[in-house]
Amino acid sequence: MQRHVVARAADLPPGSSLIVELGGRSIGVFNHEGRLHALRNSCPHHGAPLCLGAVTGRMTPSPTHTYEYSHEPVLRCPWHGYEFDLEDGRSKLHPDTLRVKTYRVEREADEIVVYS
């Protein structure tokens, strides 16, 4: 496993993200409310640049004609709106068959480090 310094911690504040090229792979690194996540920047559906999508909450299943919005974050693909868990990369609708690769990412001193 290789260690890659991808940013200074100050350059990736909460609510921001960046896209880096590591070993020929495009990877998105997210800081969501202080927690770091790294995912491959390619949607397993049609290959869209997944990490250009937004980290948002979503509607959760609810009784008919009611809405229940959850702030639990998902990464939403910029093309077709498929939603992925930031933590394990699994699709919210098809967790067993659709999954984007995730990478270990750490804050080490004042650096953001991705292991791939």
Binding site: H46, L52, A54, H80
Partner: protein, 363 residues
């Protein structure tokens, strides 16, 4: 040469973008441009392009990566060339007026015709002259056949024009209302393209769905209803007997319903053709010769091997032409969306059929 039959250029600032292409009198009538002050006070005192104001897409309606620097998606010819043409290997993109889908709903036919003509000049200058890979469809006012014919005659020989975009209207496509437009299309060798209007059931003169959908997802999934009605109308009125060189392309309405339409119509025609004796051959034969469907949004059956079965039944080698629908949210990439299709058939859909449809005008 990959041909994309449904790409949408957008204005940056609504109707105001058309100001340079309209007379001062028409600017005053529409309340656009510097001198028209009457229209700036209140929502109902402004002319707006009829669009889908009631069915709201909660996924954002466009590809989220298609609006760099906060620009309106599809409004920058240079960025579109980079993202769509270079990025997805599209060699020819046929432009369908993104903001004008709904002009068939304007109560005043002269307004629709004036907006259409101004758009055609804007498209020519801003898009077709910018990059030769862009090709244009002349947009016409469907509620004003006389002006539509004049507009086709005015623009047909311009560089880069390959088709006529006929927005949908409350009158079905097989009715005689449209015959002058079809005659002009034949005369100039231009195929007609239709596209969902975004105004279905919202405005009185818009095309209608069988009932008013509650949700965007109902509206979007059910758009094939309108196209099915129009295909039946074209076939049963014998439009292709009257206009044997006419081609009609149905954009963004799916095509699986066309399988049932062909089979059921052929069967009914056996017994009922006394009602429409001018339909001299099984109706599906006219459909296969004259009607084309764009691929997007492409079928995603539960078992991927069913894709080829569906394409067999739809006579896809003749009837399907590729479209991405850029920059909309349900965009299709030619390779990824059609990954389950054999390479030979993919070449027919993405290259050969589009070239046959538009002919030398694509060169």
């Amino acid at each position: 040469m990959i041909v994309d039959c449904d790409v949408h250029p957008y204005f940056s600032n609504g109707l105001e973008d058309l100001t340079p292409y309209m007379s001062e009198s028409w600017q005053q009538r529409l309340g656009i441009g510097q001198s028209a002050s009457w229209s700036k006070n209140f929502a109902a005192s402004q002319f707006v392009l009829p669009l889908d104001y009631l069915y709201i897409n909660t996924a954002g309606a466009t590809r989220l990566d298609s609006s760099p620097d906060g620009k309106i998606p599809g409004s920058d010819p240079a960025f579109m060339a980079e993202q769509l043409l270079d990025g997805h290997g599209i060699d020819r993109a046929v432009l369908i007026a993104g903001h004008l889908f709904g002009i068939g709903a304007f109560p005043d036919p002269e307004v629709a015709a004036t907006v259409a003509a101004a758009y055609n000049d804007w498209q020519q200058e801003r898009w077709l002259e910018f990059d030769r890979r862009y090709r244009g469809a002349i947009v016409v006012a469907p509620q004003h056949p006389e002006a539509a014919v004049a507009e086709i005659d005015r623009c047909a020989d311009r560089d880069g024009i390959v088709a006529i975009f006929l927005p949908l209207h409350e009158i079905a496509l097989g009715e005689s209302h449209y015959y002058p437009v079809y005659a002009a299309a034949e005369r100039h060798g231009l195929p007609i393209i239709t596209h969902p209007s975004g105004t279905e059931n919202v405005f009185a003169r818009a095309p209608r769905m069988a009932s008013t959908p509650t949700y965007y997802i109902e509206w979007h999934t059910g758009l094939g209803q309108i196209h099915q009605s129009n295909v039946l109308s074209l076939l049963c009125h014998g439009v292709f007997e009257r206009f044997p060189k006419l081609k009609v392309t149905i954009a963004e309405g799916g095509f699986m319903w066309a399988i049932e339409t062909m089979l059921k119509l052929d069967r009914d025609w056996q017994a009922l053709r006394d009602e429409i004796p001018w339909v001299k051959r099984p109706p599906s034969e006219y459909l296969r010769e004259h009607i084309r469907f764009t691929t997007q949004p492409f079928v995603e059956p539960h078992r991927s091997e069913q894709v080829e079965q569906i394409l067999d039944m739809a006579y896809a080698d003749e009837t399907l032409v590729f479209a991405s629908d850029y920059p909309h949210w349900d965009f299709d990439d030619p390779k990824r969306a059609l990954a389950a299709v054999s390479p030979e058939r993919r070449r027919r859909i993405c290259e050969d059929n589009g070239q046959a449809l538009f002919g030398d005008r694509l060169n």
